[in-house]
Symmetry: C2
Subunit: 149 residues, 2 copies
């Protein structure tokens, strides 16, 4: 199959600023809210941005996990995904630090059920990892251009 068989798509998001810590973000006909807890000046109307990253990873593991299981004809269903990320807020706060700003490490545990064998599960997990857009953007550098207007 040619590498040009599938076209690159644009995903567009518009975020309306509702407060210094809250946005209402719209993609297509779907709107979702990010906010901070009261302790950080918000009204807790949604997850923090860094928590949202973890949610994106969980959602992609779920969707791709079920897709790959179906393709492989496996009896394998995901019941739950638990994620923990380690982050030092020093750089975000503007303190002098050698620590990076973002998550240093993320661990995802995928709870599954079904009769798939260990070998099938290994093959399944390999495909789920390598084909995962969110995991790819976390694992490898991505060019992000920020402009002001």
């Amino acid at each position: 199959m040619s590498t040009h068989s599938t076209e690159t798509k644009s995903y567009e998001l518009t975020a309306e600023v509702r407060s210094p810590v809250r946005i209402d973000a719209t993609v297509r006909d779907v709107t979702f809210t990010l906010d901070s807890p009261a302790s950080s000046g918000g009204e807790n109307a949604g997850p923090l941005p860094v928590e949202t990253v973890l949610g994106a990873l969980a959602g992609c593991l779920n969707a791709l996990g079920h897709k790959v299981a179906s393709e492989m004809n496996l009896d394998l269903r995901i019941r739950r995904v638990d994620i923990v990320g380690q982050l030092n807020p020093a750089k975000f706060r503007g303190q002098e630090t050698d620590e990076r700003a973002g998550f240093q490490r993320i661990e995802a545990r995928v709870a599954i059920e079904g009769t798939a064998t260990d070998e099938e599960i290994d093959a399944w997990l390999g495909a789920v990892e390598v084909r995962n857009p969110v995991l790819d953007n976390l694992s490898f550098p991505t060019e992000v251009a920020v402009t002001v207007e």
Copy 2:
């Protein structure tokens, strides 16, 4: 200031699987939903995982942007953040491809208002970029460990 003045924190998320493409993710006392449109087997109850990544970036630009403006005593407010990401779905779909699975490039446009000068805005944007956790996790590699249980 010592690099150990701020402790690394754990951010935890639990995602309950509601369908092959939908999760209800909980962090602290906040729950949010990711889903797919009907064309991808979902009920459109929330953004796609890759759209959620763009939302996380928008939310972090907003929160850190206002925080840095306040620290710098700038008359600068963010009104809106527009983000576009380019992604080729071939690898997600399991097609043979040389393209990466995730976003190839992300562009964020931050619409601001206020009387800050161009020099002030440049200094502000530099700090907002370097201290941004979500931008850091997109720009630089992060170790992500996925296990099955």
